[in-house]
């Protein structure tokens, strides 16, 4: 099915995880440039983010170290290098020299030396491999510093310096070039849709000129969990909505954002926004993908430069709303279930209650993880980390927290509403030969629709 996709950064299709093939040799400096050039580019990107909000955060840290206790990487390794706020060190250093109120003195007396390429190189692992931007640290910080957001900003400089882990850079580059990071080009997508509507006898609207609802998908779903497309269609058709998928704007993942390229982030988001505007959609449904929610629901309007002319809902929110108002009916599912909250949807997205409403309607016996909801532990695959091969060992270490949580919940079924989490779970399951399989909340609903 995906035979004719681009081979510049070949996909790895065999494993449980979908991603770019592990390069034979590490190559984590993009482009042929001198160090000075890289530094200048990083500084320009950093400077872009030095607004008042960031400044207040960077001025406020009291080095109390509490964030370490919230971070899965520190908790699982006891390595102080993984202390979240320390991951910002070069960014902070640049701020003090370039933008802080005492920047003049920092430069004059060289109190904080210039950030060097070597430092950034060293920090590459900390900013990418060992941070999913899950935001637990942002919740423990007694000063209220939103460390996760700052890591996101720090990645901008890293990208401009050409210092991104290679696979993450490659998927982002593919997304920018092909419209999808993982080979789900419009052509591939269209083939999939045709095949799915045939196979499952479900009507999937494509490229309508006018629709109330625009549906976007994650390429992970398209390539690995195509059932999600079927499930979405089933639900929308059951509701009798006037909806569509548009091939000029369907890819909800945003590896531009995860890799740290603000321009690519914008390009990717604008495709969907333009598509929605074009078909006059009143609502955009985001797929089961965590960072897609952050990228569109919260960053979308800011990229657009004004409020979006449509509502943005995560599919779980959409389900909850329609179950609540009675338009959608489901059968009872007599099972015990535990739910994994995707960080970007729950903790950092604010849509924590929606899946619980859905689960309540399904009548399942919900066993919450401990801690669950807003303080749920990350699966370890977010923030693009799942794509980075050299981070695998570390990722498996932190995944053990997740396995323990799931096992301790004692539930029969493991649900989540993020396909990236889901592939991380699949990969972890394969690695540890674990007996728990991750399932999609959307698919469970679609499978149990009542007439």
């Amino acid at each position: 099915m995906i035979a004719d996709i681009d081979t510049l950064h070949p996909l790895e299709t065999e494993g449980a995880r979908l991603g770019i093939k592990n390069p034979a040799q590490r190559y984590d400096r993009q482009g042929e440039r001198n160090d000075q050039d890289r530094m200048e580019a990083a500084m320009r990107a950093f400077a872009h983010d030095f607004g008042a909000t960031t400044a207040v955060y960077l001025e406020s840290c009291i080095h109390c170290g509490m964030c370490a206790e919230a971070c899965q990487y520190y908790v699982q390794t006891d390595d102080p290098r993984y202390t979240p706020v320390r991951k910002l060190e070069p960014f902070k250093q640049a701020y003090k020299r370039e933008a802080g109120p005492f920047a003049f003195f920092y430069r004059l007396f060289n109190l904080k030396h210039r950030v060097t390429v070597d430092e950034l190189q060293e920090w590459q692992e900390l900013i990418y491999d060992s941070c999913t931007m899950c935001g637990r640290c942002s919740l423990i910080c007694p000063m209220g510093i939103d460390i996760a957001r700052l890591v996101g900003q720090a990645r901008h400089g890293m990208f401009q310096a050409g210092l991104v882990p290679h696979e993450l850079w490659a998927v982002a580059e593919r997304a920018e070039r092909e419209g999808s990071p993982l080979g789900a080009t419009p052509k591939v997508f269209k083939e999939r849709i045709d095949w799915l509507s045939d196979e499952y006898d479900v009507q999937i609207q494509v490229d309508l000129d006018s629709a109330d609802i625009l549906v976007s998908m994650s390429s992970i779903e398209i390539m690995k969990y195509p059932q999600a497309i079927v499930a979405t269609a089933k639900v929308l058709n059951a509701l009798g909505e006037k909806w569509t998928i548009r091939l000029d704007g369907y890819e909800a993942t945003n590896f531009g954002m995860l890799s740290g390229n603000a321009q690519w982030q914008k390009d990717l988001s604008m495709k969907i926004i333009n598509a929605a505007v074009k078909c006059g959609a009143k609502m955009l449904i985001l797929p089961e993908c965590g960072h897609a929610y952050g990228a569109m629901r919260w960053d979308g309007a800011n990229i657009y430069g004004k409020p979006l002319p449509f509502e943005v809902l995560h599919v779980s929110e959409f389900l909850a709303r329609n179950l609540r108002n009675g338009r959608l009916k489901v059968k009872q599912v007599p099972k015990s279930v535990t739910f994994h909250d995707p960080c970007q949807i729950a903790r950092r997205g604010g849509a924590t209650q929606a899946p619980r409403e859905v689960l309540a309607k399904l009548g399942v016996d919900l066993h919450e993880m401990s801690p669950g909801g807003d303080l749920n532990w990350c699966c370890g695959g977010g923030g693009g980390v799942v794509t980075i091969h050299r981070a695998d060992e570390l990722r498996y270490k932190v995944f053990q927290i997740k396995m323990k949580q799931v096992d301790e919940s004692g539930a029969e079924m493991l649900l989540m509403s993020c396909s990236n989490c889901r592939q991380t779970f699949d990969d972890g399951q394969a690695h540890f030969k674990w007996d728990k399989t991750a399932h999609s909340l959307l698919e469970l609903v679609a499978d149990n629709l009542a007439r």
Binding site: R44, H48, A103
Partner: protein
Amino acid sequence: MSHDESIGESLRKQGISRRAFMKFCAATASLLALPPGMAKVMAETLERARRPSVIYLSYQECTGCGESLTRSFSPTLENLIFNMMSLDYYETLQAAAGTAAEAARKTAMKENWGKYLLVVDGAIPLGIDGAYCTIAGESAADILTEAAKGAAAVVSVGTCAAFGGIPHANPNPTGAVAVSAVVKDKPVVNVSGCPPVPEVITGVLAHYLTFGSLPELDHLGRPTVFFGNTIHDRCYRRPYYDEGKFAKTFDDEGARNGWCLYELGCKGPVTYNACPTVKWNQGTSYPIESGHGCLGCSEPDFWDKGSFYSALSTRNWSGGTVLGAAAAAGVAIGVGAAVVSRRRRAQREKEKQS
């Protein structure tokens, strides 16, 4: 008066019994915080000692110190000490005047050269060559310098003599200085206070007579036995300080209850003197006991340390303008820093575009 007879003989002549003398020694030893056994030693030593010559000079002063010292003229216990000395020159008390008085001083100095005790009260004006205070055509500084040459030791009585006191207070128009600023080569003991506690003066003299030396002194030249503790440490109102009970005004409930006067400006915590233990007027009371905070009169420059009625921990400066200017400058530079930072950012953006 003969300097040859012993103190014991002299006292007997004045009808003072040995028991009376022992009583004096007991009281003095107590005053000097000597071990009680020392009273006996003191009595035996003084009994046989010669009466020393004392020359008492007064300069820029108010006679308060003299008043303090000689308030009572009957031979009481406190000033029995004067019966043990030969006070050969003291302008305030002596009968002689004019050239006769000066002659008495010169004679006493000559006869007891190197042995007499020089007591000084009042500050010494050095302005316009000492012309602000002259006696018989000689400046205070000159007389003092000459008198000090032949003295065994010098006792500066009162804060003016000890530290310059009120004449020295800002702006010090006469260039007044302490005795110790003029007398450099003789031991000087400072008995400060405005005026000093009389028993402190007699105590120092008794110590000198008994031991032939000056008592142990603190860094300001004051006898530690009297100036070793702060007023605050020995204050009977101290428990109220520790309990946090303070009089807020001079006639509030707290003042009537005898609470601590710290808030009313008492300088007790930084003032070293014997007031709370020796007290005044034969042990009647002392300022704090009478309801007024300590002024700190036994400390240098007590006159120039801000209001007597503002609490010790408060500021002793005014500087609204300085603070206002500092705040304004802070805001201005803050704005400047932000503007520079924004410009740098804009410039980076531009470079990025190009």
